[in-house]
Symmetry: C2
Subunit: 370 residues, 2 copies
DNA sequence: TTGTACGCGTTATCAG
DNA sequence: CTGATAACGCGTACAA
């Protein structure tokens, strides 16, 4: 009934008539054990469903086999997907995930406390920090103290800490080139907060694409937004309150969240998408396939980012490590990561994005095309 | 530069000129320590930012201060909200979350392996199992072995294991009563898979409300759905392919996901919501506020469920426990949980739901009202 | 009040 | 190849 006293390796050893050491060797697949002894121990182990106490293993081995995932609440758009990637990779590894969810909204508590909790306890062998730019000072310190850390964050320019992300500039450029190919020439841009790295990069990509096409960016088509639907809504209002002739034929919105606001405003005002105006977003959040109309956008490979970041982190923690026992047999060729000796140049892993064409975009109508 | 050798409590003791034991006492707030000594130790501790090694504390104390959260991938609708609740409660406790994300889609791997991983390692001091009905056999076994477990799951009728959820029947009943009050009399129901507890309960709630109003459920208004948008879509098609006169004036859909499918189909067919037909869902997923039109639905207090379940679990693990040091000062009166002695009757915590009225519902139009 | 010594469950070292 | 035995870092009876 009650939690029956767990067996220890000592018990197993006794039952098998061997020493602790031998039992341990068998459990760890040490080849230097007599066949018969090995069999005897294994039988006892299986008979009792014995498994070594994780805590003791950690203490003795110096590796907790725990990686921390530091992130804002999971209700943030891309987070579930990223963590799915992390979980999938972790699944066939010997590691587990410790979730540190930070509540930025809760201003009363000092977030550095959360970080202290991590560093302090030495609970995790490594840390995956997702969208935690506000904690960069503390995180940097953790890294300096020698804790393996990988970043997934696009609010600051990648620095010395290993980082996984995308090429925001090039991706934005591609999106705008797509609009140009459709024949649009009056392309507006609703940008993110200018001090955010991603926002600035996407803006630069927008400019670059226009420049390539020999089009000078018009200041009146460039709106400073934020990152929420409301911001998109406000910018849309500003844009469409002008006389019809000065409307853009397409809008490149810096992220999907704001694009939702634009779509909402357009609908309320009876502005048809894509007939009257084409909308393109960025991120490809899960919702974006269900807006009306579904949103054309730049797909970020979030779950892949989670997977690769985890792979990177595990390799930092334990270079000998190949995910799980099975992994060695799988074709899944382990990515070649820079070795420690070459670590002078920081690891920045840029994953490819892709355009997802949905119903919110179409060719520029002739009337607008001039 | 490299991970500087971490200090041990031994070092602290030496630096403060006391014994390990005294240092330990100071760190644990044991009152029986001389004021001066205490100060001396504290100074050294703060000077070096010392914190005890979590692993060692666990091994010595027999409590890992880790709770496992077993759940499907976080991309499942309600999960991020539930976990937000868990994280919020955990945040000011001495515990951390270990995330066990199970990939049901990955049929190749035996899911009982995942569970084995949990039981075996004795890594977590307790388990919160969310939407894991398929693993009930294994979970039950874990519970029998003495592992504290709390369930958040609505696919099976609650049993002996402590459980947090809602009253599906009553909630559904309330939703249908709402429709009746609006004047609807021809109310259809798209149900979930009948072998799911929630689906069956919601169906019974639907019947009960009709019965109260003296309306006999019409078989042709009762459709067997599933749980995905596609299922809702199919049922909607079936419903609206009949002659207009036999259409329902309102549909109570067993969950929001399916309601999305209904909305989608209605839109494609030019059926106006709510003018031609009123739609009411169940769950109040995050998306439901953004559908077109926004969906009237039954709100499940997901984050609150996560919070309460965690509170319950922590109390099971450590009855003396009040969340965090601050908690004792806060007004947040710790809920009174049944004590062990009364545990013969299983703990079932039913949280209240609420109707969220949005644009997809309205009074029955006169023409349809007969 | 403070210090000593042992236990927690494994792994790893070093003789045998 | 196998078996004592020493770490691992901390809590805690027990003795002083």
């Amino acid at each position: 009934m009650g939690m029956q006293k767990k067996l220890t390796i000592q018990d197993i050893a006794r039952l098998a008539g061997v020493s602790k050491a031998t039992a341990s060797r068998v459990l760890n697949g040490n080849p230097s054990v007599n066949g018969e002894l090995r069999a005897r121990v294994m039988r006892v182990v299986e008979e009792h469903d014995f498994v070594p106490n994780a805590t003791a293993v950690s203490l003795a081995g110096g590796n907790t086999h725990l990686i921390g995932v530091l992130a804002p609440p999971l209700v943030w758009p891309a987070l579930p997907e990223i963590i799915r990637g992390v979980a999938e990779y972790i699944e066939d590894s010997a590691y587990e995930i410790v979730l540190y969810s930070i509540n930025f909204a809760n201003a009363e508590c000092n977030h550095s406390e959360v970080v202290k909790r991590i560093l302090n306890l030495h609970l995790v062998s490594g840390l995956l920090a997702i969208f935690t730019d506000e904690l960069m000072p503390q995180i940097t310190r953790l890294a300096q103290d020698g804790l393996p850390i990988v970043l997934i964050d696009d609010q600051e320019e990648p620095g010395h800490i290993p980082w996984v992300g995308i090429d925001n500039r090039e991706s934005a450029c591609t999106a705008v080139r797509y609009l140009l190919e459709l024949g649009h020439t009056r392309i507006a841009h609703i940008s993110g907060p200018q001090h955010y790295y991603w926002a600035n990069e996407r803006y630069r990509g927008y400019c670059q694409a226009l420049q390539e096409a020999g089009i000078a960016p018009e200041p009146e088509l460039l709106l400073q937004g934020g990152f929420e639907p409301l911001h998109g809504r406000q910018c849309a209002k500003q844009l469409f309150s002008r006389e019809r002739a000065s409307w853009p034929s397409a809008i490149f919105v810096a992220n999907d969240q704001m694009a939702y606001g634009v779509l909402e405003y357009a609908e309320q005002q009876g502005i048809r998408v894509p007939e009257d105006v084409t909308i393109v977003g960025f991120d490809d959040n899960l919702l974006s396939a269900y807006t009306r109309p579904p949103l054309t956008t730049v797909h970020q490979p979030f779950s892949e980012m989670g997977r690769r970041a985890t792979e990177l982190l595990l390799n930092m923690i334990d270079p000998q490590y190949l995910a799980g026992p099975k992994a060695s047999q799988q074709v899944q060729a382990p990515t070649d990561f820079p070795r420690l000796s070459e670590r002078d140049q920081p690891v920045h892993l840029q994953l490819p994005t892709s355009m997802v064409i949905r119903a919110s975009s179409t060719q520029a109508s002739l009337s607008v095309k001039t």
